[in-house]
């Protein structure tokens, strides 16, 4: 989409864009260039001359089963987290959209978890769901190990996904509610005239019409799940990737590899693969946004 362009000036746009562009060049492109460089060398932890090793780092990364494990974990995390957050947001939005008395109160509250940092939420959840105290202790007193994220990888993964969902469900809710409210009321009424009840209307009319919003959220949430800064914080503050790498998402692995493993080069190679992945996502998203005039 182009604006009927108005102002003509060569230097003004530059002046206006310059501050941010400078910051981006300094804090984004320059570091990214370094990451690129490191990915093809063996960067000594303390700096100094680095040996060029071509694609060795990538080869190593791709041959590492734990790398693929982290890719898998990331995909499960992002897909399950995104889908569940969207699903819950959708269900809540559909409920609130019916505008029964009192729904405004719920609407106000649902967005609050969005404000909580991943690590802070993580710590709270660590307490709430720790297997030997808190809520989970009640579960475990029914049957031992019914809930034990320290022991079962699946529990641990579910655990971090839960934090993700908790944080983002309110966010998707807001978008979906707005989407629902932009569905013309007449459509709902037309469906009512056609004999359709509230639940049927939700399924037949409202949800299909939300398709663009849903897709937008899917992409946004998946990206968030893959590289969102809270994703790292959540894992870091709770399971630290464990047990036995069951929750080692890609971002966590990269940071861990760089800082614990002092393997900047390997971490860089992984970063670049991750960038590639996100670019694919972003590309899809962009194509979509530009074409979102779907049903108009």
């Amino acid at each position: 989409m182009e604006k009927r362009s108005v102002f003509k000036s060569t230097w003004l746009p530059i002046v206006f864009a310059l501050p941010q562009l400078t910051l981006i060049l300094l804090f984004f492109y320059w570091p990214v260039a370094a990451v690129m460089n490191w990915a093809f060398t063996l960067e000594p932890p303390f700096g100094g001359a680095a040996e060029f090793v071509g694609l060795d780092n990538f080869r190593e990364v791709f041959h590492d089963p734990f790398y693929w494990n982290s890719v898998l974990v990331s995909i499960i995390f992002a897909v399950c987290g995104a889908l569940s957050a969207i699903f819950i947001g959708l269900v809540l939005a559909l409920a609130v959209d019916r505008q029964l008395p009192g729904s405004g109160f719920f609407r106000f509250l649902y967005i609050l978890p969005f404000a909580v940092a991943g690590p802070a939420g993580g710590i709270a959840f660590r307490f709430i769901l720790s297997p030997e105290r808190g809520l989970a202790a009640i579960l475990n007193s029914i049957e031992p190990d019914l809930w034990n994220p320290a022991k079962y990888g699946s529990h641990a993964l579910a655990f971090v996904i839960m934090i993700f969902i908790w944080k983002w469900a309110g966010y998707t809710f807001i978008f979906l509610l707005a989407g629902l409210q932009s569905v013309p009321r007449a459509l709902i009424e037309a469906a009512a005239m056609d004999g359709s009840g509230p639940i049927r209307r939700a399924i037949d009319i409202q949800v299909p019409l939300l398709a663009p919003t849903l897709f937008f959220l899917l992409v946004t949430m998946m990206t968030e799940g893959f590289v969102g800064s809270d994703t790292f914080g959540m894992v870091h503050a709770t399971t630290a990737g464990g047990p036995n790498r069951a929750t080692e998402v890609m971002v966590y692995r990269i940071v861990d590899e760089a800082f614990h493993g002092l393997n900047y080069s390997g971490a860089s190679a992984q970063s670049i693969v991750l960038i590639g992945l996100i670019m694919v996502f972003t590309f899809i998203q962009f194509r979509f946004i530009e074409r979102r005039v779907h049903y108009k």
Binding site: P31, S141, F175
Partner: protein
């Protein structure tokens, strides 16, 4: 609409309450835990009734995490990130949307790509840049002229260092771009007919009209700035610059000490509070600004 749908209504309330338990329940647990005594908080099963020890726990957390100090830093950092982001992205979006310039696509993509790479993934080299801001320029000058320059500008352990790298991303620029695109062309044209140049137009029209977006972005950026975790952890070595989020770790029960989760929870509650307040207060505009921009 005339509807007799007791079942659907009951289901609706059921779902909304379930959502409430799921999304707000954790806050309740945290509040309960934060106000209990050490014995209560470690009791199995956990009791959800808040106790009477909140102030005590909060003040213990406050001292343990040196939260007063950290609070000031976090506020400064989050505010600066917010202000910087809100201002700079508006300028960039203005440059991208309202000029016919061959550079605009370059600008656009330069900014846009930054969405793809989180700080976590490039944090080490970013640190190096923050340590010596002029490296790229120095290298460039040296490469071009052969002259070696000695100036340095170190951002480590400074508010600038906490803030500037966080401003270097595209979220805000996007929000504004989307909004600017929805403004009718006639607005700028009317302003032009009235004799207004681009700068005037920016300040007289765009800025006041972007109020909702500014508030939305303010909310997001405050939350984003406040919640930064890894970057300050790495960047700040001087305790006088430590932020709330950094202190989260200090609040955890000491590795081998007493499991005083009540203090930890009280502390994390304090840490969560400011962004939650900001979202709660600005939520109306936040929602409107966000949604308008994404649509």
């Amino acid at each position: 609409m005339i509807q007799r749908t007791p079942f659907a209504d009951a289901l609706t309330y059921g779902l909304m309450i379930l959502g409430f338990l799921l999304l707000i329940g954790p806050f309740v647990v945290v509040i309960a835990g934060a106000s209990q005594s050490l014995q209560q908080v470690n009791a199995v099963p956990f009791r959800f009734m808040p106790g009477t020890h909140f102030l005590e726990n909060a003040s213990a957390a406050w001292t343990r995490g040196d939260l007063g100090h950290a609070m000031v830093n976090s506020l400064i950092m989050a505010t600066l990130v917010t202000v910087g982001k809100v201002a700079l992205s508006a300028c960039t979006a203005f440059a991208i949307v309202f000029f016919r310039s061959p550079l605009k696509h370059l600008f656009f993509w330069t900014v846009f790509i930054t969405l793809m790479l989180p700080l976590e993934v490039r944090v080490v080299p970013t640190y190096a840049v923050a340590a010596d801001m002029f490296t790229p320029f120095r290298l460039l000058i040296q490469f071009l002229t052969g002259i070696e320059i000695k100036v340095e500008w170190n951002l480590l352990n400074s508010y600038a260092g906490l803030v500037l790298p966080l401003i270097a991303t595209a979220t805000g620029t996007f929000l504004y771009r989307q909004f600017f695109m929805t403004l009718p062309d006639e607005l700028a044209e009317a302003a032009r007919m009235d004799g207004s140049g681009p700068v005037r137009f920016f300040f007289d029209m765009l800025v006041p009209l972007s109020r909702t977006n500014i508030l939305a972005l303010t909310t997001i950026m405050f939350v984003y700035g406040w919640n930064q975790y890894l970057w300050p952890l790495l960047m700040v070595t001087d305790p006088s610059y430590k932020t709330m989020m950094m202190q989260l770790r200090a609040l955890l029960p000491a590795e081998n000490g007493i499991p005083d989760w009540n203090v930890t929870l009280a502390g994390s509650l304090i840490i969560m509070l400011p962004p939650v307040l900001v979202v709660a207060i600005l939520q109306r505009w936040f929602v409107r600004g966000l949604v308008a921009s994404e649509k």
